[in-house]
Structures are given as C-alpha cells and as structure tokens.
C-alpha cells in the first residue's frame, strides 16, 4: 500500500521514518525452539479477540437473575449472528487458556524465566490466574443449572482454605450462597475489574519483554546467534500463525457451538455428572484423592493447602532455580517442570474421561 500524502502527514507530526527504523532495528533470535515463542503472540491475539466479542455481547446481556439466562437465549436465537459471536467467545476463552498453559510450560522448560527475566514470568503467571478467573466468572453469567452448580462448588472449595477461606468465599459470593449478588459481582469482575487489570499486566509484560529482549535457551547460548528483524520478518510469521489460529477457532465455533442448559434453580438438586471447565479438572481430581479426614483434620483443607503450596512453588521457580540464573544447566528444575506437566495432563485426562 502506497499513500504518500498520508505518509507525509504522519512524518511531519510523528517522525514516521524514525518509528519504522526502530521497528526494523528490533532483532529477534532465531533457533530451533523459536516456535514456542509464537504461543505468546497467539495468546495476545486471542485476548484481543475476547475483548472484541465480549464487548459485542455486553451490549445485549442483562446481569440479573430473572433476565440473564433469557438474554443469552435471545442473543443466540434472535440476534443476527448472535450464536456465532457467543460461540466464538466461548471457544476463544478455551483456546486462550490452552495457549497460556502451552506458553507457560514452554517458558518453564526452555528456562526463559532465568535472570534477568523473573518479572516477565511473574506477570505472565498472574495473567494465567486472571484468565482462569475470567473463565470462572464468565461461566456463571450464563446462569444455567450447570454454571450455577459449578460456581457453588468452586466458591465453596475456596471457603475450605484455612484462616482466610471464609473471607474469599464471602467476597466472591457477596452473600451466604450463590445468588443474584454473586451474578452481579461476577459480571463486574468479568467486564470491568479483570479487563483493566489484564490490560495493565499485558502492557507491563510486553514492556518487560521489549526491555529484556527475547531469551535464548541455555543450550544454544554458546552457538553463534542468528537474528531476524521483528518487522517485517517475525511480524509476518506471527500474522500467518494468527490466521491459522483464527481458522481453527472459527471452525470450532461453527461445528461445536456450546449448549445452553435449563435456567438455574437454587432449590433444585445439582445435575448429575457435573464437571467444571477442563482447566479445573486436575484440581478436582486432586481433591478426590484425599479422604474426608486426615489425622482428625479436614481432608479438603489439607488438599487445598497442598495444592496452594505446589502452585506457590511453581510461581516462585525463577527465584529457586539459582543454577540457571548463573547460566548453568539445571536438570532438577527441568524434571520438576516435566512432573508438573505430566501431572496436569494425566489428571485432566482422568477428570475428562471419568
């Protein structure tokens, strides 16, 4: 595209040529593991899509227990392309969390978190937590019997956390049980509070990535580095991958639109074989492993404490892994990463198939 007048207009005001030079001077390392780096770009792309489809649905959604379920049905059945955008939002969230996990484990196994990039890991990890909370809060907005029961279980589970559990449960629910207050709270989290935090954290994450530059795996650090300019080389590759992801997303959207179950009834018994979203399955299966009581203590509380401890250790890995900070190989943390990954995959598969 050649628009000399627009180019001149921009150049007179914003040093357009300077910006282009800056983009071309940004170099990205090229090696055999660089495919893992594209998962971060894919996640960013999916985040943007989620914001756009979410804004479209927020125009028609009514966050009230009497109208929430009905408004979703109207979006799906009466609005032009409403079913498509709702399904796109659903599958976008599933893929977004999946790619976040891939990005996380890729970063862990390539040791990209090592000094001086600890804060990149920290911001990314918090973003994963926020995305999961996005999923939980968005699921309740449907206000159907499954979403209601799943939220009751999830918020009840948070209540089993010692000392501050009651506060977390009350803060999430807004009342004694999952009610209209919970729906309104989750709506506020989903459309206002979490998006603002996400925007700030994504911005910080990207600034840190730009500041530190892309990391090179330890095993390849001594090799002669090959580098390519971010613009246009890496940008065009990103664009091609985004197009493929978009195609997969639209295919899932069309072929597997998510169902809408009957409206939630707080007095009705929970539906049979209820399961949370796939990224909570490993947690649920872990809780099932523990008996109701261990040495006179509540088994669920012990299980939640152990899981919280394991997640905290995972979060702090960059600060524990001193060897890779010094540029030495650290097979112990590679094995820890592999064990975490295998446990997550196995428990998710067991939860899905059971």
């Amino acid at each position: 595209m050649n628009c000399p007048r627009l180019k001149d207009w921009l150049d007179e005001r914003y040093d357009w040529e300077g910006i282009k030079k800056l983009a071309k001077s940004k170099l990205i390392p090229e090696h055999r593991y660089d495919l893992w780096y594209y998962t971060g770009g894919i996640t960013l792309f999916l985040f943007i899509l989620q914001f756009m489809t979410g804004m479209l649905m927020a125009l028609y959604y009514v966050p009230h227990i009497d109208f929430a379920h009905k408004s979703i049905i109207e979006i799906v059945t009466k609005l032009n392309m409403g079913w498509f955008f709702r399904s796109l939002h659903h599958w976008g969230s599933q893929l977004c969390v999946a790619f976040l996990f891939i990005h996380l484990f890729g970063t862990l196994l390539l040791k990209s978190y090592r000094k001086p990039r600890e804060m990149v890991w920290v911001t990314g990890f918090i973003l994963l937590g926020i995305s999961i909370f996005f999923g939980l809060s968005g699921y309740l907005l449907l206000w159907d019997e499954r979403a209601f029961a799943a939220t009751r279980v999830a918020t009840g589970g948070a209540g089993a956390f010692p000392v501050i559990g009651w506060f977390i449960k009350a803060f999430l629910r807004g009342s004694m049980d999952v009610t209209g207050d919970t729906l309104l709270r989750f709506y506020a989290f989903h459309v206002a509070i979490l998006p603002i935090i996400t925007l700030c954290l994504v911005g910080l994450h990207l600034i840190l990535v730009q500041y530190h530059g892309m990391s090179v795996p330890l095993s390849l650090e001594k090799e002669k580095p090959r580098e390519a300019p971010f613009f246009p080389n890496v940008f065009y590759k990103d664009l091609m991958i985004w197009l493929v992801v978009m195609g997969v997303l639209v295919t899932l959207t069309v072929l597997l639109p998510p169902e809408i179950n009957p409206k939630a009834d707080p007095l009705a018994p929970p539906p049979e074989n209820i399961k949370p979203e796939w990224y909570f399955l490993f947690l649920l299966e872990t809780l099932k492993l523990f008996p109701g009581e261990i040495l006179g203590l509540n088994g669920e509380t012990i299980a939640i404490l152990l899981v919280a401890g394991a997640i905290l250790f995972f979060f702090l890995i960059p600060f524990f892994d001193r060897k890779s900070s010094r540029g030495e190989k650290s097979p112990l943390f590679t094995w820890i990463g592999v064990i975490y990954l295998l446990y997550f995959l196995t428990m998710t598969a067991v939860g899905y198939l059971s």
Binding site: W83, N233, L239, G247
Partner: protein, 102 residues
Amino acid sequence: MRRIEIVEHCLKRSLLSRRRWLLSPVLVLLMNTATSWAADKIVKIDVFPPTPYDGYIIYESLAVFWLFIIGLIVIIRMKLREIERIQELGVENEDKDAPMLR
C-alpha cells in the same frame, strides 16, 4: 392406568382384544417415548440456526473462509521470501559513503 383401561374398553371387540397381554406394555412404551421426546423438545435450545438452508450457507462460508486464509498465507509467504531474498543481497543496507545528490 385409567387411560389404558379406556383404550382397552374401546378395543374390546377388535382383533387386538385377543392379544390384551401385548397392549399394556406397548402403550406404556409409546407414552414414555412421547413424553421423553416432548421433554427433550422443551429443554433443547437451538444454539445453531436450525433450518437446513442456513446450515448450508454457514458451512459454505466456512469453506470460503478457509480458502481466504490459505490464500492470504500464500501471499504473505511469497512476500516474506522476497523480503528475505532482498535482505540476503544486502540491497537494503545503507551505504554510508554514498555521495549526496543535490
């Protein structure tokens, strides 16, 4: 059971009355099927346009969308190869000793 009795009374003189033992289970089966079908109809919400015409248009659009994506990828790939070829030639590099044209 009251309904079954009424139907049995009506069919007393028909051929089916000889096979009364068969009538009750068949009726029960038919009623169960009908009620479960009706229950499914009430609960099920269409999350995809139900008419075959709309379905056909959507699947056709999906195929066209994939063709569009593949076409775009081919164009970007060609463009990228051209850029890499120029970069390898070093044509883009700025010549610091080049004389200024006035």
